[in-house]
Amino acid sequence: MYNETVMDHFEHPRNQGAIEDADGEGEVGNAQCGDIMKIYLKVEDDTIADVRFQTFGCGAAIASSSMATELIRGKTVEEAWDLTNKAVVEALAGLPPQKVHCSLLAEEAIHAAINDYRVKQGLEPWEETGGHREGHEH
C-alpha cells in the first residue's frame, strides 16, 4: 500500500522525540481520523536549528512527520512556514489518496509550533491563509 520511501521513513523515522527546552511547540489533532501530531522546534538566528516530532497515527502520519521535519531542518522560519503538505507528499514520492490528509497534520503542526515560537518572541502569530503559499492538497 505504501511505497518504499514512505516505508523507510515509517520504519526509520528521522527526528523522532521531544525537545525539553523547545522554543516552539505545536500539537494538532486530525478531525477525520482522530490522530495527533506534536512538533518541537529549536530556533537559532531565525533558522530551524533542531526539530522533533511525536505522532499518534498511521504509517502515513509517521512518515509525513519524519519527512516534514527533515524538510524544514536548517530552513528559515519563513521557509518552514511555507512548507505545504503537497511538498511533503511529493518528497515521499506519493501517498494513497485516502492518506493524503495525514500529511496535512504535519503542515498544521509545524504552523502551530512556529506560531507558538512567534508568540513566545512577542511577535504576531501568522495567519493560516497567506497569499504567497501554494495550495493545499487534501
Partner: protein, 380 residues
C-alpha cells in the same frame, strides 16, 4: 495470525476440486455420466454441510459466500414479508454484510432497530423481546463476532423470536467449523456461512433455510438450487466447501482444545504489556480470537510493523480503513475513540504453533514500545 479474515484452502481440498474443474472423470466423452458425477458430488456436499449444523440436506442452499448469504437472508425475507410488516431487528456489532444491507433496506422503506451491546459485545435476549413490535418480520443477530470473538446467546434470541412469530437469522460465518451448531436446538430459521473461513475455497458459501421459511431470491434466473438461487452451480467450489467443512467438524474437538490453549497463552503474553486490555467476552469467545487494546498507540502502524515481521493481523483503528471510521464493534462496546485506535486482533489457525505465539508476543512487545516512544500521548 489473521485467520478470521481468510484461511488458505486445505491442499487436499484444492486437489479434490481440480477434477471437477477440468471435467476428467473416467471416459470424458460420456457426458451423461459426467453430469451424474457432478450431481452426486453436489448432493454429497449438501449432506456434509447439513450435517455440520444439524440441518437436512434440502435446507442447504449454496451461494457465493457469506456476503451473499447475508444479503439474501435479509433482503429475501424483507421483500417476501413486507405485506406483513416492515420492521427488522439487528445488533450494533454485525458485520457490514448485515449492517450495510440494513441501511439499504431503510432506504427502501423498512425500519431497522440496531440493538446495543454490553461491554463484552453481547446482545441481551430481553432487549430483543422488548424491541419486537407487531410490525417486526425478522431478527438478525450474529452467532460470533468477527472482531472481538464474542459468542452471542443465539438459542435464547431464537426462542424469543419464535415465541413472537418472527423469523430469526444468524450470521454464523465466524462460527461454522469452529464451534458446535445445531439449528434446531438453537431455534435458527436462517443461517449464513462462508467456505473460506474453515479452509474451504473462497467464493463459496451457503444459506440454511428452515422449514416453512419464505424468502424472495436474491439471484433470479435459472432453476438451480430448487429454483431459489439461480446461477450455474460452482461445482468444484461446492465440493471443496463440503469436504473442508466435514474435515473441520471432525477435527473440531481436538482443534478447539489445542487452539484455546494457544489463545490463552497469547492473551496472557500480550496482557503482560502494561496498560493493555482484553476486548470481547473473557469466556464466551471463539477459540481462535484474541483482541487487545494498547493505550497511547495506533493500530495501522502496529499492523505495518507486524507485517514487516511476517505477521498478518487486523485492527479497529480508523486509520486502517478508507472511510476513516473506527470499528463500529469496539465503539458499540463503549470504548472511546482513542482507545479503539490502539486495538489489535490476532486470530489463530490450525497450523499456528506455540513458537509462533511466542514470536508474536515478543514482536508485539517490541513494537508497542517503539510506538509508545513515538506517541505524544504516552505519559513521560
Amino acid at each position: 495470525m489473521d485467520h478470521a479474515a481468510t484461511t488458505a484452502t486445505r491442499p487436499e481440498v484444492a486437489a479434490a476440486m481440480v477434477p471437477y474443474m477440468t471435467g476428467h472423470f473416467g471416459n470424458p466423452s460420456s457426458l451423461y455420466d459426467l453430469a451424474r458425477v457432478s450431481r452426486e458430488a453436489v448432493a454429497a456436499a449438501r449432506e456434509q454441510v447439513a450435517a455440520a449444523i444439524g440441518a437436512e440436506p434440502k435446507q442447504i442452499y449454496f451461494t457465493s459466500g457469506g456476503t451473499e448469504s447475508d444479503n439474501w437472508a435479509l433482503k429475501g425475507v424483507a421483500f417476501a414479508r413486507k405485506a406483513k410488516g416492515n420492521h427488522i431487528i439487528t445488533s450494533a456489532v454485525e458485520h457490514h454484510a448485515i449492517s450495510h444491507t440494513c441501511v439499504w433496506l431503510e432506504k427502501q422503506g423498512f425500519s431497522v432497530t440496531y440493538l446495543p451491546v454490553d461491554r463484552y459485545g453481547m446482545v441481551d435476549p430481553a432487549a430483543v423481546e422488548a424491541a419486537i413490535t407487531p410490525e417486526t418480520i425478522l431478527v438478525s443477530v450474529m452467532m460470533a463476532n468477527n472482531e472481538i470473538g464474542t459468542i452471542m446467546p443465539v438459542a435464547e434470541i431464537g426462542a424469543v423470536a419464535r415465541k413472537h412469530g418472527v423469523l430469526f437469522h444468524t450470521d454464523a460465518v465466524q462460527a461454522v467449523g469452529h464451534i458446535p451448531i445445531d439449528v434446531r436446538a438453537q431455534n435458527i430459521d436462517l443461517l449464513s456461512l462462508s467456505g473460506h473461513k474453515f479452509r474451504g475455497p473462497k467464493g463459496t458459501g451457503a444459506l440454511y433455510i428452515g422449514p416453512g421459511v419464505r424468502l424472495d431470491p436474491l439471484m433470479h434466473g435459472g432453476a438451480q438450487e430448487r429454483g431459489r438461487r439461480a446461477g450455474t452451480e460452482n461445482v468444484p467450489g461446492i465440493v471443496g466447501m463440503g469436504m473442508a467443512l466435514e474435515l473441520a467438524t471432525a477435527e473440531m474437538e481436538e482443534n478447539t482444545r489445542r487452539i484455546t490453549a494457544l489463545r490463552d497463552r497469547l492473551t496472557a503474553g500480550l496482557l503482560s504489556i502494561p496498560e493493555t486490555y482484553l476486548n470481547g467476552h473473557p469466556e464466551r469467545r471463539l477459540p481462535n480470537n484474541v483482541n487487545v487494546v494498547f493505550a497511547y498507540i495506533e493500530g495501522e502502524s502496529i499492523l505495518l510493523m507486524l507485517n514487516r515481521r511476517g505477521i498478518a493481523a487486523s485492527t479497529g483503528s480508523a486509520c486502517s480503513t478508507t472511510s476513516l471510521e473506527p470499528s463500529h464493534v469496539l465503539m458499540a462496546c463503549g470504548l472511546p475513540h482513542e482507545v479503539v485506535h490502539g486495538s489489535l486482533r490476532l486470530t489463530l489457525g490450525e497450523q499456528t504453533t506455540e513458537a509462533d505465539v511466542d514470536y508474536v508476543i515478543s514482536a508485539v512487545m517490541e513494537i508497542v514500545q517503539r510506538l509508545r516512544d513515538m506517541s505524544p500521548l504516552t505519559p513521560a
